[in-house]
Each structure stands twice: as structure tokens, then as C-alpha cells.
Amino acid sequence: MKRERNLQINAHGRLQHFLTIEGLPRELLIEILDRAEGFAGIGGRAVKKVPLLRGKTIVNLFFEPSTRTRTTFELAAKRLSADVLNLNIESSSAKKGETLLDTLRNLEAMHCDMFVVRHHLSGAAHFIARNVAPHISVINGGDGRHAHPTQAMLDAYTIRRHKRDFMRLKVAIVGDVLHSRVARSEIHALKTLGVPEVRVVGPRTLIPAGVEEMGVSVCHDIETGLKNVDVIVMLRLQTERMRGALLPSAAEYFRLYGLTPARLKLARSDAIVMHPGPINRGVEIDSQVADGGRSVILQQVSHGIAVRMAVMAMTAGSQAG
């Protein structure tokens, strides 16, 4: 893990790449949250822009489809006055290493300053960060099952906005933890920020073996898992990543693990409901809950812009001096 940390933090101790939460110190996560707070108001101004990254070129390098993540990264870059290039690369599975390096060299030749990378293979963002020219920053926009650090930080930001003190919280992460890079990054973020109790809740087939080593407790029964929690993070059932019969059916999954108004009552009365999106109504979450007063799902989207602005400003500024 030391290697990853070194890769993300440069010789001046600044965040040069943002690839994974794992190994980053608490102070740095807090700095991201505090900076995001500073950027949050910009969306409400007449001119929704600050000139911080004027003249920088940021490439959204997406090897896997995405709407929310790509558009919020794009908006974040534009609100910092950067120029944005969106590349959606539908990659065939073979020859990827070679193609990827060729793509990188071409983008470097165009004098780009930052890559936001989404890839279906775990480790893709690390691979790119190791191979780019030293002046380029790489931000992981989700790699395989591995990590989605900006999503974890925007969730942490949303939690802090509603709950203030991480040190007293009980958080339940419910659903397909096995395939979820969001869950992995989220657990690292919440544990680093000092959340004392993180529960992962889901069927045995969708909870990775050994997850307890990350400092979480495992619950296969949703009623027990939701009891008295302050925050519920619902995960999307990632059918596109599933191979083999992990589940009987979507309807059966909803019956056993779907978040319904009745189940929400088991949590604390002021509990918030989060979901990284896109939501599958009637599969992991009931529409009444998704659209209800405790849902902060759309706030998460807005917060995503501020958090991504913070990460972009910090990584782009890491090479100053």
C-alpha cells in the first residue's frame, strides 16, 4: 500500500493523483471536504465559475459508460474554468495495455494536464498514473471493482452536511458489496474519518469474503442491519458485473433486501438514505423511499460537483512552485 500512497502524494507532500482512499491520511480527506465546502456556493452565483484552472486542459477518459460521474466531472472542470475533452472509448478486451499507452501518448502530445479515468478493469487508473508524464494528474473516476474515491468523498461530504460528527455514527452499506467499488472506497473513507460502526448488509453471495478485515461488521439480515443506523447507503445491483447465478431474481432480492418505508423505520428517525445512482426502483429501493423526505440522493449529485472541484484544484495545484 505504501507504493500507492507514494504514487498519489508527491515529493512536496501534496496530492498529485487521486486514485484510491486507501492509505490517505485523515487530514487530507478533511482538506478535500473543507475545500469542497468552499466550492459548493459557486453553483448559486450569477457566474458559475472561478478562474482557478484557466488554461488547463482536462480529459475525461471514459472506457466504461457513465452519465452522472462524467457530467459532474465535466461540470466541475468547467466551473474551475478548465477546458474539457470528453473521450468515450469503447475498448475491446484484448490489446488494452498497448492501446491505452498509445492513447496516453497522444493526449500528452496535445498538452493535456489532467486525466479523469473510468475503466472496467481494476487498477487502470494506477496504471495510467504510473505511465503519464510527470506534469499530469490522474483522477480515478471508477476502476473495475476496485475504487471510486470521488464518490466516497462526496458521500462523506453529504454525511458531514447532515450529521456533522463522524465519530458518533452508525452507517449501513446495503446490497451488492461484492461488485461495488463505491462500497470499498466508502468503507476506507468512513473508517479513516473515524466512523465507529460500519455495517455491510447483503446476501452471502454479494458480500466479499474477508470484508471484516476492513473494520466493518457483516449482517445478512437487513432488519438487523438497519437497526438504529444514522446513515443508509444503498448500492445498485450490478447485474452487468455478475457472472453466474448469484441471485434468484430481482423481485426476490427486493423482497429480501429492498429498502421499503417499513424497513426505513428501523433506522434512527433522522437517518438519511443515500444511493450512488443510477437507482433501480423496485430492485434495491422502493420509490417511496427514493423520493421521500429522508432521501438525499439528489443532494449527492450536487455535492459531487463541489467535491470533484476540490480534488481537481488540489491535484492541479500540487505541482506549483
Partner: protein
């Protein structure tokens, strides 16, 4: 009259602020800008602005600017340490604005503050007040009203400490002069 830096630590800031308030009152009245909104530049400018707001009996809330994202030295120093974000709890468009900073030096902070204010709207006018004008301008920016003008030796810098009590101190060869 310009003073040197030797005795600024003993300056009575309350007196300076009273004199500034009187000058500002006359200045704003002579230009028909009585109904102003007041904005301080974080952090020291906000302290000064709060005192001036009371003395000038400005009824509206105090605005505060964090110009970190409008600075011109991002390429050299990266993002500045986090301070509280900007907060302008009023409409800027068509309003007279009284912009307040603690120390006026190169003028780059004021340039950044003006740019940020215009991102909120188009004010009818902006009046600039600074507690200290320490010379050394690098941009064509002047305050309409100042508390005190200083002539400092090379390597000397002045810093406002506060908010209670407000006190000026003289720094010799600090690592990073501001304002």
C-alpha cells in the same frame, strides 16, 4: 502623511477606524452612495468591515469574500490554505458596494476581489477602503479611504491581528507576504 513602520504596533486601531468611518461617510454622501452593501476580504478585511458597518450604521448583513480561487498565483503556489468560503448574503447587481480590506499592498487581492464581486452581479459602484496602505502597488488600484499610509523598508511587512483586539504588527522578512 506617511509614517514609517517603527511604531505601528502602538497605533490605536479604534481611533483609525473612527476616522475612517467619518471619511467614508463624507465620501459616500458626496457621491450619492449612502445606501451601500459592505463586503470584507477574508480574514482581516472582514474584521475591519464589521467595525465600519456598525459605525456607518449599515443595516444590511456583512458580506465576506474568500478570494483564494481568484488569485493570480495558482501556478506558483497551488491552492491556498482553506479559509471560510465567500458569503454574500445580498444581491450585488445595481447596489453600491463598500469593499474593505485590512492591508493594501500590491493591489492583486483587490483585483481578485473585484473579479469575484462581478461574478455575483454588476454593482452600481465599488468604493474601496483599507485600514493600511503600505505602498508597493503593482496594479493601478487605489483606495478611496485609508486609515493610515505607511512607508516600509524593503523586507518589512505589516499584518493585522484580531479580531479582538485588533492590532498591527511589523514583520521583518516573512516567508510569504500577503495582501
Amino acid at each position: 502623511m506617511k509614517r514609517d513602520g517603527t511604531d505601528i504596533e502602538g497605533l490605536d486601531i479604534r481611533k483609525l477606524l473612527s476616522a475612517m468611518a467619518a471619511k467614508l461617510h463624507a465620501f459616500l454622501e458626496s457621491r450619492g452612495r449612502q445606501a451601500t452593501e459592505i463586503i470584507g476580504v477574508r480574514t482581516g478585511g472582514v474584521w475591519i468591515a464589521e467595525v465600519l458597518r456598525r459605525r456607518l450604521k449599515i443595516r444590511g448583513p456583512l458580506g465576506a469574500l474568500n478570494i483564494a480561487y481568484h488569485r493570480d498565483d495558482f501556478g506558483r503556489v497551488g491552492v491556498h490554505p482553506t479559509v471560510e468560503p465567500s458569503d454574500l448574503p445580498f444581491t450585488v447587481t445595481d447596489r453600491h458596494i463598500l469593499l474593505v480590506d485590512d492591508i493594501l499592498y500590491t493591489g492583486r487581492t483587490v483585483r481578485a476581489a473585484l473579479n469575484e464581486i462581478f461574478d455575483y452581479g454588476r454593482p452600481a459602484s465599488v468604493t474601496l477602503a483599507a485600514l493600511v496602505d503600505r505602498g508597493g502597488r503593482e496594479l493601478p488600484i487605489q483606495a478611496d479611504v485609508t486609515g493610515v499610509s505607511l512607508s516600509l523598508k524593503s523586507g518589512e511587512h505589516v499584518k493585522l491581528q484580531g479580531p479582538d483586539p485588533l492590532r498591527l504588527s511589523l514583520l521583518k522578512n516573512p516567508d510569504s507576504p500577503t495582501a
